[in-house]
Subunit: 112 residues, 2 copies
Amino acid sequence: MDDDLLSGHLQELRRGTVVLACLALLRRPGYGYALLESLDQAGFPVEANTLYPLLRRLEKQKLLESVWNTDESRPRKFYVTSPDGERLLRALLEDWNSLTTAISTLREGNEQ
Amino acid sequence: MDDDLLSGHLQELRRGTVVLACLALLRRPGYGYALLESLDQAGFPVEANTLYPLLRRLEKQKLLESVWNTDESRPRKFYVTSPDGERLLRALLEDWNSLTTAISTLREGNEQ
């Protein structure tokens, strides 16, 4: 099995969890760059060129809100999870629970 | 938040788990149709028109092997997880463990 095939399937398993992790971490307002580090520390390593378009997409979908901080010489945008984002996050966490139960059951019945 | 947006994100969260579930269930050889039912019972509801192309893709990637059963008047194809599929399954289950830990930690730090 070649590495691309393996990493493609692993990426597919992780893709949806990055949205979940962003929405959870951005309950506290944060900058894209800081989020990149928090995601990494939290066990969701993501490339900057994957994260930034994702943040813009989530903002467009009104799941994140953004504010410009103009206190510093170079204005920076920070993001925070919107009320809709909070609703989606709760739905994702609930679904994650169902998936976890389903996968544990698969394992028990099948792992031997 | 509209339903399409919600279900799109939920689907994204589940997509990779369907491959994991197929590979686990097909450790015991099975037909596509029977697998559709087992997946549903195991908590991974999938549409036939999603599952069949997925099975063909996994076969093409040599993660599943297929055999024709010609005992009956109408030949039927059954699938079984290949050695490569078994390796991928183990990698996916391991990654699932890491993700589960990461998401629990997110929750603890952030759920209040």
